[in-house]
Structure formats: C-alpha cells, structure tokens
C-alpha cells in the first residue's frame, strides 16, 4: 500500500464531500477524532492536485462506500477509486456549511497551536511517560507545569464538547484564568506562546 501521500482530506460521510484538506496526517487524524463528537467523518489520503482547502467541499470520493463507517470514531480510509468533482453538497444550506467549515478550520488551528506550545514548553511531561509504564503503581495528577491531565488534554476536552467558536474562546479564556492556577507564571507563559501561534497559524 502506498504510504507516500502529500495531502489528507477530512471527509464527511453524511455530506459525501471533503470539508478540509491538510498536509499533516497526524493533525488531521487528531482533529477528526475531536470533531467526531459533532459529525461522522474519516480521513482520506488525496491524490488529486486540484483539491485544496478552498474548493474541497465540491469534491467527494468516487466510491463513497469506501468511507462507510459503522462506528463513530474517525478512521483512515484506504480507498480504491480516488476522488472526483461533484459540485455543491446536497441537503445542507450554504450558510450552515460555511459556518461549519470555518469551525473545522478553527479546530485545526487550535490543535496545531496547542501541540506546538506544548512541544515548546512542556520539557518534563511526566504524565505521558508514566503512561508508558503499564504496571506503574505511581500516579501523577498534574504534570510539572501545573495542569491536571496536561495542557493538550484540557484543550482537547474543550474542543470535543464545544459547539462553536465563541464557546471554545470563552472556555479557553477561563482555562487561562491565573486566579485559579497554582503556577500562574507558567500558565502566563503558555498563554502567550499559544496566542502567538494562533495569531500566526
């Protein structure tokens, strides 16, 4: 099986169209997982050079049964037939579609920013390392930067359960509330870097 794909599409099983395209498989897989609380989606490698982030919603799979799924979790589809131009999706208003596509792009941006921030600042991520030791009798509630469950897990939780950008922004603002933090300096640092990545993302 070919593993050398340059682009990956977030494919809606219900609309039978791509809703976003990215070059990063792992970011796309992770976003699909978070967005699965709201829609039935999977990730497909894309061969067609004409498909990009702007026009992807007019393209679908030639054989949509390749993407048929029986469970809610996102999955990578190994497709046989490729993509084709299909025009505007049916049975959904353009307003709703563009609102939802804009939210999906927003989720991608946040996930990318949170991964970069964590990679840059979390230099002693003991929670993840402890998870590798299956029989460990030790536990860590907070990682060394002071977030219960770790920074990324908290951001993921917000994205999984929120329904629109406004709700996400408001929950992220509360998350960066220094009053409640045991490590306000580190929290401030996280917020600064995170917002910087968001601005430039």
């Amino acid at each position: 099986m070919n593993t050398d794909f340059k682009k990956f599409g977030l494919y809606s099983n219900s609309l039978e169209r791509f809703l976003n395209v990215s070059c990063d498989l792992w970011i796309t897989m992770h976003c699909a997982r978070l967005l699965s609380s709201k829609m039935s989606i999977c990730v497909c490698p894309i061969d067609d050079d004409n498909i990009n982030e702007k026009n992807c919603y007019k393209y679908g799979l030639k054989e949509p049964s390749d993407a048929k799924q029986n469970v809610q979790m996102s999955q990578l589809v190994s497709k046989t037939y490729g993509e084709e131009y299909k025009g505007d999706p049916l049975d959904i208003s353009i307003n709703t579609l563009s609102k939802h596509r804009s939210y999906i792009r927003f989720v991608f941006k946040i996930v990318k920013a949170s991964w970069l921030t964590d990679a840059q600042l979390n230099d002693s991520n003991h929670i993840d390392f402890l998870d590798l030791e299956a029989d460990s009798c030790f536990s860590l509630e907070q990682d060394s930067i002071g977030f219960v469950g770790g920074f990324r897990k908290n951001i993921d939780h917000i994205l999984y359960f929120s329904l629109d950008e406004e709700e996400v922004r408001s929950k992220i603002n509360s998350f960066f509330d220094y009053q409640k933090s045991t490590r306000p300096t580190m929290l401030k640092k996280y917020e600064t870097i995170f917002r910087e990545y968001m601005k430039n993302g």
């Binding site: 039978e16 609380s37 829609m39 469970v71 809610q72 049916l90």
Partner: protein
C-alpha cells in the same frame, strides 16, 4: 412444532453452521437462496405481516405487533405521536412500582425517546426512570450526554444487556428498536451513496443515473425503474461477504428482488418509490425481528413470557406510529433528500427543536450502534446466545444443539421451495 414469533438463522453463528454443514452439498436453489440471505444480511429472520412471503418455518405474527390497516388520511404528526407516547410511559410509571429503564444508544431513535421524556415529564417523574447506556452511547452523542444526562438522570451500565435480568429485578425496559421500522432501513441508505458506481458497472448513462438518484423518494418514480440497480446491489453485498461465492449464487439478487416484488404486489399498502421499497422490507417482513430482538437474541433463558408480557415496552411499536409511517411516504418526513444525513428527518427535526444542536441535525447519520454492545455481551454468554434458534408463540425458546431441533431445521431448509416466480 408450534408456530414461531421469531426465528434467527445466521451462517456467521457457529451453532447454525454446524447444523447446516452436513447438508451444504445437497442444497436446492431455494435452500441456497435462504442461506444466502443470512450471508448477505448477517442473518435471516423474516416474518411477514402482510402479503405473500414463504419461509421454511410455520411463522405467526405476535398479536401485539400486527400491522394496522393503511389509512391515507391519518393526520397526526410525528411530534404529536412522540409527545403522546411520553404520556403512555407516564401512565405505566404511575400504575406500577417497577423501575422504568430507557435503553439509550445515543442514536437518533433512542435520543428521540429521551427528548420526549425530558420535554413531557416533570423532574420528579423523570426521577422514576433510569437511562440504560454504555460508554458507546456517550461517544455517539457526547454533547447530549453532557447536557441532559450526566448528573441529571439515573444511569445504569447496559454492558449486562439481558432483559431476563431486568425482568427478574422488577424493571420495565423501554426499547427503541422499532425506529428503523418506521423510517426505512440502512439497506437503502447504504445503497444510495453507491448509486453511481453501481449504475456505471451496469452501463447506465450519467444523466439517467442522476435523474434516478434525485428521485429515489419520489412516488412517481416506481421502484421497478431501479430493478437492475437493486439486483446488482444485492449481488454485490453477497459477493463481498460469501467467501465461497460461485455461479449458482448469482441468482440471489434476482430471487430476493422478485420475492420482495411479489410480497408488495400481494399486500394492500401502496409501495411506490425506491425508498418505499426498502422501507417496506423492514416495516413488513423484518418488523417482528426488530420488535422482539431485545428479548430474544440479546437475552437468555428458556421461558421469555415475563419479558414479553410484563417487562418490555417498544416505544415505536404503537398503532399510531405505524399508521404515521404508512401515511408519510415520499413527503420528506422519512428522508428529506438523498444523502445519509437527511434520513430519519422527522426524528432529527424533533431532537433539533429541543436541543438546537445544528451539528447533530446537519451531520448525524444512522449507525448500526447496537452490535457494539451486543457483540461484547455475545462473547460473555456465547453458548446460549449463539445457539438461539426460535421463539414459539408460547414465548418459549428453542435452541440448536437439541437433536430434534437440528434435524427439523435441516429438513425444513432442504424442503423449502421457490414459490414466488
């Protein structure tokens, strides 16, 4: 043998396979067809409520689930009936001290049930019900769980999915298994996305396919216009699942289509469009399967009388829901357009009016979520669940592994005749 209310034979079940293996070389066209139904659709469990439909077994419709007479003037809406059904449950709650358990998967049918109860019952009345669910139900609709169930309703883990236990614990189970029976079947909604690839295989022109596709729920486009596509679709399902598929199996699609066509022609309910055709399968011959499966193939025990007479309420089994289903074909209530998310439109609209979640409304599609829970339960109680054969009209269970049952099954399958063409 008594008459049967429920039969299940599946080539994927070890017990049935071992009964059938000795006769695999002696199959007639009819017995091969019968076994292929279970290969293609996981099991064969058809009991006709209307029209001609022969089976190898003496079957009978449970009087609780007979089909009402078609009434084209039936005017209650889906919302009217769904709200009214909450009051039926309330009556049941008030009449007994039994605990009421709502089986919730997070899918469209069971979410509709919970919405109706949340809309129509008071907080103290809601305290008398419990939601029977698993982690899968949260994953299927996380926002609904967080907003309306978590810390608000009593929750019971459905991992021990056995109505026998619930009836022993003095509970009444409220199940939504007949939701599919009202709206259609995923056999249809899984075909629609493959429409163009099926048609191209058969040499249809794109314009013709586009026209047929756009009109799959139009009563002026009779299902017979789709005959070749349907037959190809049925054959493609069998081919993808039957590891020893050979030329004799190629009759399957046509036999299944003509059997359904004959059933439609001998019943009195108008079946017009392609979506009607698929709906009719589940509303007629598969209705009993959906109605009784929670207490049969997902439960254990020999005597199921208490489950079916005292301990189970089929939310969508009422006469009004059935009359609604017969009077609302091809008007956008069952499927609004052609894509998967527009299926079960009336139920999705009912949920949306309550929770205003436009993601669920715009993108939720029907999943076969039940196998997730039942699959786990299956391995825990493999011996009893795998060997289930039939439920008699006295609510007694027959199991494979009993020599007289095994001999009877082989004999009936070999004597089955093609009597519909």
């Amino acid at each position: 043998m008594d008459n049967f209310y429920f039969v299940q034979t599946s080539m994927y079940n070890r017990s049935f396979r071992s009964v059938i293996n000795p006769i695999l070389n002696d199959l007639t066209d009819a017995s091969r067809f019968y076994l292929n139904i279970s290969r293609a659709f996981t099991f064969e469990s058809y009991i006709p409520r209307a029209g001609e439909w022969s089976t190898p077994w003496p079957v009978k419709v449970d009087p609780n689930y007979t089909m009402p007479e078609y009434n084209p003037n039936f005017s209650k809406t889906f919302t009217d009936i769904t709200d009214q059904t909450a009051n039926i449950i309330l009556d049941s709650i008030n009449k007994t001290d039994k605990q009421h358990l709502v089986f919730y998967s997070g899918g469209i049918d069971s979410t509709t049930v919970l919405v109706s109860l949340l809309k129509n019952l008071t907080i103290s009345e809601l305290n008398k019900i419990s939601v029977c669910m698993s982690a899968d139900s949260i994953i299927e609709n996380p926002n609904f769980y967080l907003k309306y169930i978590k810390n608000k309703l009593n929750v019971i883990d459905s991992n021990d999915h056995d109505l026998k236990n619930h009836s022993e614990k003095n509970c009444i189970s409220i199940v939504a298994d007949l939701g599919d029976g009202l709206f259609g079947t995923e056999l249809g909604t899984r075909m629609y996305p493959q429409f163009f690839s099926l048609g191209k295989k058969l040499g249809y022109k794109t314009n013709t396919l586009t026209d047929l596709y756009k009109n799959l729920s139009n009563s002026d486009y009779h299902y017979s216009k789709y005959k070749n596509l349907i037959i190809e679709y049925f054959n493609s399902i069998l081919q993808s699942k039957h590891t020893e598929y050979d030329i004799k199996d190629h009759l399957f699609g046509e036999l299944y289509y003509t059997k359904l066509d004959n059933n439609i022609k001998t019943s009195t309910v108008p079946i017009n469009s392609l979506h009607d055709f698929f709906w009719w399968i589940i509303f007629n011959v598969k209705f009993m399967h959906c109605a009784l499966r929670p207490g049969t193939i997902h439960s254990t025990g020999v005597d199921r009388t208490d489950i079916f007479t005292n301990s189970m309420i089929n939310w969508y089994g009422t006469r009004d829901y059935q009359l609604w289903s017969m009077a609302n074909n091809n008007n956008g209530e069952k499927i609004k357009g052609t894509t998967q998310h527009s299926y079960k439109w009336a139920a999705k609209k009912y949920i949306y009016e309550f929770d205003k979640n436009d993601w669920y409304f715009s993108h939720k599609i029907k999943f076969a979520s039940m196998p997730l829970v039942t699959g786990r339960n299956w391995s825990k109680k493999f011996t009893e669940l795998d060997s289930f054969f039939a439920l008699t009209d006295k609510y007694q269970t027959l199991f494979f592994g009993d020599e007289s049952v095994d001999n009877y099954v082989r004999e009936q399958i070999l004597n089955y005749k093609i009597d519909w063409r």
